[in-house]
Every structure is written in C-alpha cells, then in structure tokens.
Symmetry: C2
Subunit: 172 residues, 2 copies
C-alpha cells in the first residue's frame, strides 16, 4: 500500500495556510519554497485541494491560496481523499467469478468476504484519519515542535502572506 | 492510496489452500485457472507468500503450494505485508527540513506531527487487518456464500489438490 508523495506536501501546505492571518493568502511559489518543492508539482496538488473545497484560490496581485473552511473542520481524511481519490485502497476485481466453472450471476449476490474484510480495515483507517483535525496538527506543532522551527515557520508565513483589501471577497 | 492487484489474488489463493486436505499441495497452474489469472503473474505473488512464511512450496511430481501455518495463525495483515512490503503507506520525506531556512538537525529530533498522525491511522488499519484471520474468512465463506459457489470451489480443490506420500516432509 502506498500513498502518493503529494499527500505529505498537501498536508504541510494546509497546515501552513492555517497560520495565515484572517483573509490573507499565500502564493503557491512561497509554499513551494518553504518545502523545497517544484512549484508546478505543488500547484497540481493545491488545485486538487481547491477542487475538493479544502482551499480556495484568490486571483490578482494579492492572490494565492487560503483555507476554504476553518482548520477545525478540515481533517487528514479530507486531504488524503482530495489527493488520492475516494476509491478504496483494495480494489476487488471479483476474480472469484473468473474460474473455469461459470456460475450464474445470482451466485454472487453477496459481497465477497475477502473484499468485505479489506473494506472493514479501510474504514478503521479512514475513521482514524477523520479524527485528526488540521487544527490539532497545527496546535501540536505550535506547542511541541522545536521553538526554532516554530519561529522560522511563523516568520516565513508573516513574510509571505498577502493581506487582502477590505473589499476582497472569497471565491466560493 | 492503492493496494496492488496481487493482494486480491494472494488472499484468494491462501483461502483456497486452507481447503486442501492435510499435507496435500495445489499447483500454481490450478490456482491460476481457478481465478482466471496468468500463471506467471500468480507465481510472483505465491513466491512472495512463500518468502514470508505464509506458504511453503513442495517440489516434485506431487509438488505445489500449501499453507506453511494453520489458517488460524495467518491474518490478512500477514498477506498484505507479504505482497505490498512492510513500509508504511505514508512515506514521510521530511519536507519540513527542505525550506529556505536551514535549521540545525537538532531542531528536528521530535518526529513530524503530520507523520505521527498518518502513522497512527495506519496502525488502526493494520490492527483491523491483523484481527481478520484466514480461518475466519474461510469459515464465513463456507457458511455464508452461495451454496453453488461453495460446491464448485470444494469440487475444484478436490480435483486439483495433490496428496503427499507419507514420506513427504515439509520444506521449512
């Protein structure tokens, strides 16, 4: 089982955006710089987060990305599904039906027990991810991470965030 | 997040091997036929299961595969890890260290909170897979699946299993 590398980038960017002031935005280029990533690589994942309603993008000279919802309402599950898609990790191809003895489709009305067991485990995984709020991730970072890292992170956000004029409105 | 297709084949084969009599084996070609899979594709996964101590292979005219342990002691987690490898699905590349401000490595002694949260969810997934015994999968299949499917499956095993002479010993 493997998650794409974009998941790490997406969660870090969302956590960073949880730290901008009010309606301010952060350009993708700044986030790419913060994590040493290629801007085009990161843009793809930021756009996935935007399409899923986790981020919103603002255009214009003060444009960039910001959270579309409070960090308390965004979970790691939201982010993982936005990047990886909503399909289960285990894809049942119904190979039980492929054998030399072809039975009537009515013999397979009940779901395959193997698929059911794999999906049960995946529900446990998703449930644990759904309990991990972005706000908790950020709060733990602020309280538990090395103070030098926190100071450097906050200074980076303060330097790169783009405050909005009072007339700016969210793109929803 | 995606599991390889081989996981489905591996679990089905292990479940089928739980149904052979005593020390009997089942050739890979029969299992490939049972699930409509290419023998070379399946062989790769059977060898992974053998390398992990879930199956054992017997050579010679009555050769094939059989479970290396009682089905009660084999879990879906064992099979998934044998096929997919033991690494976590979330691979932390420590992108938190890549930014423009390079801090001393001592600033990163504590694990990244994002990695910790992702690994916590993965422990929940693995724990659920570890609770799913192969013997339970087989018992549920025997009691709950359509009787036509059970009859066809049992007949297939009876036809293709290869009893061992009394002198045969397990390859451990």
């Amino acid at each position: 089982m493997k998650l794409g590398e974009g998941v790490e980038a997406a969660i870090h960017c969302a956590a960073m955006l949880a730290g901008v002031d009010g309606e301010a935005t952060m350009p993708a280029s700044a986030m790419a710089e913060a994590f040493g990533l290629s801007p085009s690589y990161l843009l793809k994942h930021l756009n996935m987060l935007t399409a899923s309603g986790i981020l919103e993008s603002v255009s214009g000279p003060a444009g960039g990305y910001r959270l579309a919802q409070p960090a308390e309402r965004i979970t790691l599950l939201d982010i993982v599904l936005a990047i990886e898609g909503r399909e289960p990790a285990f894809r049942c191809a119904e190979i039980r039906r492929n054998g030399p003895v072809r039975l009537d489709p009515s013999a397979y009305l009940k779901p395959c027990g193997i698929n059911a067991a794999m999906l049960k485990a995946e529900r446990a995984y998703r449930s644990a991810l759904a309990e991990a709020k972005l706000s908790d991730i950020v709060a733990e970072y602020m309280s538990d991470a090395d103070p030098r890292s926190v100071a450097a992170g906050c200074a980076f956000v303060a330097r790169h965030q783009r405050p909005q004029k009072s007339s700016s409105t969210k793109q929803t």
